[in-house]
Subunit: 346 residues, 2 copies
DNA sequence: CCGTTCTCCAAAAACGTTTTTGAATGTGGC
DNA sequence: GCCACATTCAAAAACGTTTTTGGAGAACGG
């Protein structure tokens, strides 16, 4: 017994108000050619009935979803720290201010990233796309550009004629290295984040340029690519020490690598800081608590997120672009950037 | 010049194959009443053309989205640690195995949680809903139950006649307290997570029951409710000490509170562990690195996520339920659960 | 050889909105 | 008093699928 619980539709609102369906729609969507009094009545009835337009129906007809998708790659270290949440927070804030919903979608495997994008775009699940982990040559970006689909990336690519926001990793690399040089170090190793990502390469360039600028050439043996799983910071430190490459300081592409490196140092009886200077990047929460505190770079991801969102809104609003935003990281001095003391012969 | 780039539709596939629109649809959606050969041809052409069904159109007609939404409350501490990501990972894995997409949506404000749910459900944006931070009396749950909308929560409520998964916080509270009692402590404080959440209350009950079971009554002065911002673990410790309540051990509702408490202890010259035993909960990454290591409880959120996803799939598949899953946490012994030593007069 | 069942496909309706088109009414100028 | 124009709304088309309905032909049993 009882009705089969048919979905509440715009017709019901039309009947209740005694107006036509089209007028109700125009009233609810804020068109100007509906009398204020009429609009009020429609809104009141809609509220009373608890009516909301079907998402599927309205986006089918209007050809837009008012939704922006952020694709997050799972093994992105930044996801795990609260500041990445700040980024999403900033994005959400600036999007919803303009009536857009933020939707987050996970790419669990590296291989599915592209497939997820294709699916989102071709099925018309969102109006705009946000993603990070850009690579120097990024097929996702080319594909999206071909189709003219709106997107903004976190991170640049080699041909950067699209919208992006980015942290200046070149500057980070340069500053970190220069600081270590100023502290008297000359044998400075660099444990890089995976070099398939553009930002890793920028940091590496900064590192090398700083060395060059101070008349120190870069030594390939001091540059080691690290991963989250395969080869960690600890492996790299072990390699540096057993091969006798003899660094007195290390600049790590991120704090996770730095932490792992510190672990290995302790195993070798090397004190991070006094015996081997260390600078990381990201300022993850652990960084302040580990040992004497890890010197590292902090990024204002909140601001980055806001800009990311605003850029997307501008783009969806018809602003052609391209727009780009580079933001600086802040050096957080703690306990591991110490001057060269009892270094070996150099 | 050039076409106005009309959207690629199912009609195009129909024309290319020489079949009717309905046959193409049935072929692509895996119905049985289409010859294998025909299906192959359709799939080939669709692939060649790069056709994908419009999400809006198909979900309008079929009245389902094949999407499950996880609503994550922003100030959820678990979001910030990598293990929360494990939970989402587990969910995604079990959902996509059954052809469902996982979509994450953020509730930045406490007040918007309900609104987001209403919007998702009434606009028909998803087929099922997942969320945590359940409260003993949870209006979201009642609302969803009234409407018969499929959902599974992370955490129970008082009237638990719905589907949920949960970590056994009662057991955690009981075990933590019992361990501290066995170590000789009798004045054991409990810094609780916000008591509006059901799990906080479960932990509190476990704490009290353990005290009772060992003939120690609970003292309201030893129970302090902590928040992430307003009153932190540090504030609570300050209160305990300045008021001379005299605890010798503390069980903290989570590690963030514990860390904050440790900070305050140091300010008072109290060594966490030797001078004041401490047990936390969650095993956030910092926990292993802070001081002599925080003794805490680890939860297998990966498994929790898998179960959560599977439960949702079952529900969407017509399995009535209710289904409930309680999982145990594992005590991780580190350096802060020490026996009572130079305690004051008791 | 006829009737029945089964297999495969086509035509058309339906999903619930938004947008287009056009009509009715009122208003003002001459 | 008539025409032009602005305002406000209604009718109907359109969005791109899936589902329903039913029909043509093949297969099969008697």
């Amino acid at each position: 017994m009882g009705e089969p619980a048919r979905r509440l539709g715009i017709r019901d609102v039309a009947e209740q108000t005694g107006l036509s369906v089209s007028t109700v729609s125009r009233a609810l969507n804020g068109y100007s050619d509906v009398k204020l009094e009429t609009r009020r009545k429609v809104e009141a009835v809609a509220e009373k009935l608890g009516y909301r337009a079907s998402f599927a129906a309205s986006s089918l007809r209007s050809q837009q979803t008012n939704t922006v998708t952020f694709m997050v790659s799972k093994p992105w270290t930044k996801f795990v720290d609260p500041f990445f949440l700040s980024l999403l927070d900033g994005v959400e804030l600036s999007l919803q201010a303009q009536g857009y919903a933020l939707q987050i979608i996970m790419a669990r495997e590296y291989e599915t990233e592209f497939e997820i994008i294709r699916n989102s775009v071709e099925r018309g699940r969102c109006d705009g796309l946000l993603f990070g982990r850009t690579r120097p040559e990024d097929e996702r970006i080319e594909w999206l550009q071909e189709r003219g689909f709106p997107f903004v990336t976190v991170g640049r690519t080699d041909k950067s004629d699209h919208d992006w926001v980015d942290v200046d990793h070149y500057k980070i690399g340069y500053q970190a290295t220069e600081r270590l040089i100023r502290l008297g170090h000359a044998r400075i190793a660099h444990l890089t984040t995976p070099l398939r990502y553009a930002y890793s390469i920028h940091a590496l360039r900064g590192y090398r340029d700083a060395l060059d600028a101070h008349g120190i050439g870069h030594d390939p043996a001091l540059e080691i690519e690290c991963y989250l799983s395969r080869k960690t910071g600890a492996d790299a430190v072990t390699e540096l020490i057993t091969r006798g490459v003899g660094p007195t300081a290390i600049f790590c592409g991120n704090d996770v690598i730095a932490l792992s490196a510190m672990e290995a140092m302790r195993q070798f009886g090397i004190r991070p800081g006094p015996d081997m200077a260390l600078i990381g990047c990201d300022d993850i929460p652990v960084a302040a608590h580990v040992g004497m505190g890890l010197t590292t770079f902090r990024q204002d991801l909140d601001a980055l997120g806001m800009r990311l969102g605003r850029m997307m809104v501008a783009k969806l609003g018809g602003d052609a672009g391209p727009h780009q935003q580079l933001i600086d990281a802040e050096l957080i001095l703690r306990g591991t950037d110490l001057p060269l003391s009892g270094g070996r012969a150099e």
